[in-house]
């Protein structure tokens, strides 16, 4: 696992005690008004086969410190992220924690809509699958 001395701006390592779960905080640094002044917490979960297999990455919510789930048409309100990079098909072992964080930052940066994915309510209520087992259909090439 790669631990860079210097992480890109807006990415802070919160907890990395073991090789199973890491917490990171990310901010959107380019001043997109949707996300200005907010910090979001990411939870990385690594399997035995990381980096061959993708880690499970979700946003987690907390009140102290305040860490909301960012509004984005591809982020469900329970923190599950629909991003091809994190799916079996899109993952490449070359990726790492840093590159995932940067991708998520840029995914947020380019967003202009303060909305949840269609069907968010149902998904959040009924989904019992782990993120990696969900078959997302990646249709949006813009993010």
């Amino acid at each position: 696992m790669q631990l860079h001395d210097k992480l890109p701006p807006g990415i802070v390592l919160v907890k990395a005690d073991d090789f199973q779960t890491w917490l990171l905080d990310i901010q959107v640094v380019d001043g997109n008004p949707l996300y200005a002044g907010e910090t979001y917490r990411l939870k990385f979960m690594f399997s035995q086969s990381y980096p061959i297999e993708a880690p499970e990455v979700v946003f987690v919510q907390s009140t102290d410190p305040p860490r909301p789930i960012p509004y984005h048409p591809h982020i469900y309100s329970n923190g599950i992220i629909c991003l091809d990079l994190l799916d079996r098909q899109g993952w490449s072992p070359v990726h790492n924690v840093e590159s995932v964080c940067v991708s998520l930052q840029s995914m947020l940066t380019s967003n202009t809509k303060k909305e949840r994915p269609p069907g968010d309510e149902n998904f959040v209520r009924f989904n019992t699958q782990r993120p990696r087992d969900i078959n997302f259909v990646f249709h949006d090439e813009r993010v």
Partner: protein, 530 residues
């Protein structure tokens, strides 16, 4: 409603499926090699009846096909080795046309979902682009893949470096250490079941790992699995091929019925493992109902049946807005929460007509009350109609399960009969035949009710219902005989054989009738067939 996963197995009449020797999957030869799926049970009666088919004659012309019924489709059953052989054959053929090595040709064919003509056309037109889109890039032929040591190399996956590190890259140039590459391939093949389209581990690289590179990197243990997965993708890619869905069955079935023909035909095929299934949707044989109706029906039953039962038993509808209301206590003066209509629970009439006499409803003959009850009855009718069909459907499903239990006991009965009466093995086979017929007929009957639910009322429907009734009666008669104790069974042999033959005959009549009318589009459904 999980019954779809039952797999009826039939052990009888293997002779019917003694395979042709020249089975091969060759697009051009379908017509010759395709053989009729003559229903096994039918032969038992056609032979006895007045030679109305040419089945009974030992014809001098060996190629003569047994008469095909209207509800039957042509199909072939293939073993994995045959499927593999036909892949190799096609690869070799195209390889020589395109002048590409077989590994590359295999990737190209898989990329084009085994559409040879399209591949050749496209390749002849723009070879470079075709290779590129299949993840092959240029010069796949010139230098074969090899493992090398590179000075100053650092693996992007594990960050290992060192002069002794074995590395590998395909022509895309994404180089990783052999351990990482190997582990990547293992994960893809073993855990994720990928084979035909494993891509380079590099980010956003679309290059597909070819079989030569794979041979170089993975051991024999994985190689078998890889080949198996390739065969699987081949069958999945081919529209004409489908795996038999029975557990542990290794055969694939070829049938020429296309998706768009499904509203007009119900393509039931019979795998060599004994399983009958629908080539269109892989569900258990669901003749006579077409796939789209089956899907609709199963969906409906899944969400509706229990709820509908409960609603029917426990609720009434508001006479004004038809909201469903459950009365869980209190007096008969109802106020609909939705439309504020006040009515009497007993007579369903307007409450205002009751004056002040609460609770006691003695106004049964009042006009508004009887009108409201009529309306209620009408709206309940659709629910009742559904339940009528559903109950019969479920009943046959249940009976088929029970008959299956009997079938399992039949074997014991047959042995007992042999020892107690001195009958020979061949002489007690009628029990097996009968039990098999029974199951098959129940399966058909079950689906006739789903079919009938969607049928519009007309003369054809009347004929259908008559056929259904005849079959149902025949089945019940035969089913009853199975309940008889062993000592009576021997005496019933002739009767039982007659009844079995009759059941099969009724089933064929019903299926022929429905299939012919389906083909000609004569049925009127109250829903659209998609």
């Amino acid at each position: 409603m999980d019954s779809e996963d039952d797999f009826n197995s039939s052990q009888m009449s293997e002779d019917d499926f003694a395979q042709d020797s020249d089975v091969e999957i060759d697009e051009g030869k379908d017509a010759e090699s395709a053989r009729s799926s003559s229903c096994d049970a039918s032969d038992t009666w056609t032979v006895d009846s007045d030679f109305d088919d040419d089945v009974g004659f030992e014809s001098q012309d060996k190629d003569i096909k047994p008469n095909k019924h209207a509800y039957e489709v042509d199909f072939n059953v293939f073993e994995p080795s045959q499927i593999q052989a036909s892949q190799h054959k096609q690869i070799a053929e195209v390889s020589s046309i395109l002048v590409q090595p077989p590994e590359a040709t295999a990737i190209l064919l898989r990329h084009m979902r085994w559409n040879k003509e399209r591949l050749i056309d496209q390749y002849m037109e723009k070879p470079e682009e075709t290779l590129e889109s299949a993840g092959l890039g240029q010069d796949a032929a010139t230098n074969p893949p090899k493992i090398t040591k590179i000075q100053g190399f650092c693996c992007d996956i594990c960050c290992e470096d060192g002069p002794e590190l074995d590395t590998f890259a395909m022509r895309c140039g994404h180089r990783f250490c052999v351990d990482c590459y190997r582990q990547y391939l293992y994960t893809k093949i073993k855990d994720e079941g990928e084979a035909a389209r494993i891509r380079c581990p590099g980010d956003k690289c679309n290059r597909v790992v070819d079989s030569k590179s794979l041979d170089l990197l993975v051991g024999d243990d994985l190689h078998d699995r890889y080949q198996e997965l390739l065969t699987r993708t081949y069958v999945d890619d081919k529209e004409k091929l489908r795996w038999c869905p029975a557990p542990n069955c290794v055969y694939a079935v070829e049938c020429a019925v296309k998706d768009r023909e499904l509203p007009r035909v119900v393509p039931t095929v019979h795998c060599d493992c004994g399983h009958y299934f629908c080539f269109g949707c892989s569900l258990n044989d669901h003749q006579p109902a077409p796939c789209s109706l089956v899907k609709r029906w199963l969906k409906k039953c899944e969400d509706d049946s229990e709820t509908a039962n409960w609603i029917s038993a426990n609720t009434k509808e508001c006479p004004k807005c038809h909201s469903t209301i459950e009365k869980n206590g209190g007096c008969n003066h109802m106020t609909c929460r939705k439309c504020r209509n006040e009515f009497c629970w007993m007579c369903m009439g307007l409450w205002s007509e009751h004056g002040t006499s609460w609770y006691n409803c003695n106004r049964f003959e009042e006009k508004s009350g009887s009108e409201a009850r009529d309306a209620q009855a009408k709206s309940r009718q659709s629910l009742e109609r559904y339940l009528h069909y559903y109950n019969r459907y479920a009943n046959h499903e249940q009976s088929a399960k029970l008959d299956k239990d009997i079938y399992l006991k039949t074997e014991k009965k047959m042995q007992q009969l042999q020892s107690s009466t001195g009958m020979s093995w061949i002489e007690v086979q009628y029990l097996d035949t009968a039990s098999h017929a029974l199951q098959q007929c129940r399966q058909t009957l079950k689906w006739t009710y789903a079919f009938a639910y969607y049928l519009a009322r007309n003369n054809l429907t009347e004929i259908f219902e008559d056929n259904q009734k005849d079959l149902e009666m025949a089945v019940e008669n035969l089913s009853e005989m199975f309940e008889k104790p062993i000592d009576q069974l021997q005496g019933l042999k002739v009767d039982m054989m007659d009844k079995t033959a009759y059941c099969n005959k009724r089933r064929i009549i019903l299926l022929n009738d429905t299939a012919e009318n389906l083909k000609q589009g004569n049925w009127e459904f109250n829903v659209a067939l998609s």
